[in-house]
């Protein structure tokens, strides 16, 4: 028996596999993947007020990936608590609520409200939202702002908190700020900014013009950041970006991820979380790895023996 437990301190998971935020609304996939089988269920991003989302088209397929500009369509935290949360509450999986906002106080308000709910086991901060009050730059782009959000959330809750970050040149400094402000983990990475153009109409394929790129196309970028951030900062990371099968998940873990999330992969193969869990177990059994935590960050950095 391989011990799949993931211990984040404030949160312990039975296994390392979660869905990525935005890819499960509620119970759409229970036919194929019982929520109980996941280490944690991650909700779509919840905001203080309901949001209608962006105008269509919201989806466009790109080489080995897809662009989306959903625009955080959600029912708002109050309705989330009364309508969706009760249906998830009885699950064996931990419930991690992704939260977003346009101001520091919106993050901390939503965190505080959710903190009172017994069914909530953790929060993932979607720091790719624009900071509307201060010029519209994403919270996760600037270390100082990221620090303020995480500090405010940390004051509002004692729950497990992970900050979900996108790839950019200041990411190490932002991740450090998140850690110093009290994050238990970082989720690496959110979608990359992207766009695609219909050359016949000379229009963007997305109603919102730009969107976020996900899928296998971004996996090497995500693996890179997991490797760098966990190596430099000694903070646990949840790896996400283009995981389709167990080999991809294992790759992230060797690079340093304590747990992983499957996003776009669910759309392609709805049973992916189950086959990824099974495949991780088989990999560990074959390699005589008793505890999954022994695999995390086990990257061999010695020089290639046969090269100079």
């Amino acid at each position: 028996m391989v011990d799949l437990t993931v211990d984040f301190g404030r949160l312990v998971l039975r296994n390392p596999v979660m869905n990525a935020s935005g890819t499960y609304g509620g119970e759409e996939y229970v036919h194929h993947v019982p929520i109980d089988s996941l280490g944690a269920f991650v909700t779509k991003t919840v905001t203080r007020e309901p949001r209608q989302g962006n105008p269509p088209p919201r989806i466009y397929e790109t080489p080995c990936g897809m662009l989306n500009s959903i625009g955080l369509e959600n029912m708002g935290v109050r309705r989330f608590i009364s309508e969706l949360l009760p249906r998830l509450a009885s699950s064996e999986a931990k419930i991690i609520v992704s939260i977003g906002g346009n101001s520091v106080s919106e993050y901390s308000d939503v965190a505080g409200i959710l903190s009172d709910e017994e069914a909530v086991d953790g929060l993932e901060l979607n720091l790719s939202c624009p900071n509307v009050k201060e010029g519209g730059l994403q919270f996760g782009k600037e270390p100082k702002i990221a620090h303020r959000v995480v500090s405010a959330v940390r004051k509002a809750t004692s729950l497990f908190v992970t900050a979900k970050l996108s790839s950019h040149s200041d990411l190490p400094e932002v991740a450090r700020a998140c850690r110093d402000a009290g994050c238990d983990s970082v989720t690496l990475i959110n979608t990359l900014p992207g766009m695609a153009v219909d050359i016949v109409k000379r229009r963007s394929w997305l109603g919102n013009i730009t969107g976020g790129l996900s899928g296998p196309a971004i996996r090497p970028v995500a693996v890179y950041w997991v490797y760098r951030i966990t190596g430099e900062l000694k903070i646990p990371a949840i790896g996400v970006g283009g995981i389709m099968k167990s080999e991809d998940a294992v790759e992230f873990m060797i690079a340093g991820a304590s747990a992983i999330q499957i996003g776009t992969g669910n759309f392609v193969d709805p049973t992916a979380p189950l086959s990824v869990i099974d495949g991780i177990v088989s990999y560990c059994e074959r390699g005589r790895i008793d505890r999954l935590s022994d695999l995390v960050g086990s990257l061999n950095l010695e020089k290639f023996p046969d090269r100079n």
């Binding site: 609304g25 759409e28 269509p56 088209p57 080995c64 897809m66 669910n266 759309f267």
Partner: protein
Amino acid sequence: MNRFLGGCKVIRNDEIGQGIYLMELECEEIAVQAEPGQFVHIRVGDSLEPLLRRPFSVHDTEGANFKVVYEVVGRGTKILSKTGIGREVDVLGPLGKGFRLDEISENVCIVAGGMGIAPFRLVVRRLENRNGRVLAFVGAKDRRIMVGDSSLRSMGIEVFTATEDGSLGFHGFVTDLLVKVLERRRLKDVTLFACGPKEMLKSLAQIALEKKLKAEASLEEFMACGVGACLGCAVKLQDGEYRMVCKDGPVFRLNEVVFDG
């Protein structure tokens, strides 16, 4: 309903018009459960490119098999068209909400533009044992890509064809042909079931409004999950809210759809 996910054996995959194929797949769960207007979400291969599944209306069912018709328009349908008999294709379905057959008027007019023919063989099959007439209006750019008209005719319903270049049937838009026939026949108490390009549906919405006809249409949007999870395939309705083509549709009441939203 028990949603199926798995491999379905290809029974046939024939070119029935220029670049247009009819694929028959073996899957009892889907064949037995599929309602007219529902769709299946097909992964065309194991490769990461193209990545996403593609939605196809269930064209018809026959015993333990179901059929889809598709036009080769991109990488996904190209691969599908090369899939040989006996091979397995990964299918999720049936999905979505179809045409409301329990709310129809005495007469039903089917209006199909191009590949919009896809859902209607199953619709006609389910309307077979009832009183009242079923007429079909099938439009295409030209005769080489006109498919499904003779197949519907063989089911014993009256079929009118229109081509934009006049190479077959009425010379012009299928919606203009519909108006002519409705007026010539003085048909009242009609429900319109439509599927086709947005421009066609838009003018059909106008016709339905003027003639006070009930109308439903199957819509299309880029889709990722197909099950209402990703919220990608949004369409705006008259109440100002977004609905998902995959879960709330693909069939909507035509007077509820905002075409410029």
